[in-house]
Symmetry: C2
Amino acid sequence: MLSRKTRYGINALVYLTRHRDQGPIAITRIAEAEHIPAKFLEAILLELKNAGILASRKGKGGGYYLLRDPEKVRLSEIMRLFDGPIALLPCVTNKYYERCEECRDEATCGIRQVFQEVRDQTVRLLDQATLQEVLDRETRLQEESGPSKADQA
Amino acid sequence: MLSRKTRYGINALVYLTRHRDQGPIAITRIAEAEHIPAKFLEAILLELKNAGILASRKGKGGGYYLLRDPEKVRLSEIMRLFDGPIALLPCVTNKYYERCEECRDEATCGIRQVFQEVRDQTVRLLDQATLQEVLDRETRLQEESGPSKADQA
DNA sequence: CTTTTACCCTATCTACCAGATAGGATTTGA
DNA sequence: TCAAATCCTATCTGGTAGATAGGGTAAAAG
């Protein structure tokens, strides 16, 4: 399972993407809109800023805004930032590789091969999932489900 | 990441599958062969027994052995047993479903859709991965890498 | 029927960390 | 100068992963 931190982080980023024509957005506004404890969110946004994904402005009218192009920010990156490796075994990660102590021969480990495939599939999907892509999906989903009420007029 | 418990559990199960023609196998033997703390392994095997996957015999010559057909034991099942849900968000699990508090409208949530796909792919692979399948992979991998030394004679 | 072997079961410990809060320092705009 | 907002460090709390201790119970050997 994703940590709360990652979940909150992703939700906040999508929110910032959705409203990125409105200038800096205050922590409290995001916190209320997305139901996230404000103080906790503060720490999360700070981390995203230090990672070069967000930027901020202090003082009145200040807040956070997206620094990078929303097509360039992938969910895989956010997850790694907060939760570390995406793979389920240390021996199948690319970015955080570590040997399994209990494993004798990596090259012929059937378990490893399975989890290598799981890892590859997962990373592929999470690399495709940029902030922009998530927004686009939202729009598409609304067009599919919304019309039943809205378009009947 | 998988918990140690799950990793140890899977390794022990594969070991038991590999030697399932040898009758009951003692905890200590598995522990030594797979580099697992014996006392910890004890608890793990007990849990696998209570789950109906293993059976045991006490006394001299006793130990654990596979109760179910190795083609019927899937890694997905072991993972759920020890680590709970496989999905990364509570709102995309089938067996442990729970609403995301921060999520407003599940039907149009782009984040959810992404993680639904991740979950489906992962479960598909882990359902295919039975104990027998893991053993078969081992064999195939050995045939691919081993011959360079063994077959050159 | 006693000894040995090995599983069964509960309790406990330690370290760590996720999730969250407190409170003040600093910057900015009106 | 005041108010709004981020910045930053410290701290708390509960839960839990990983592991160990130790005695209870069943089975087999002789």
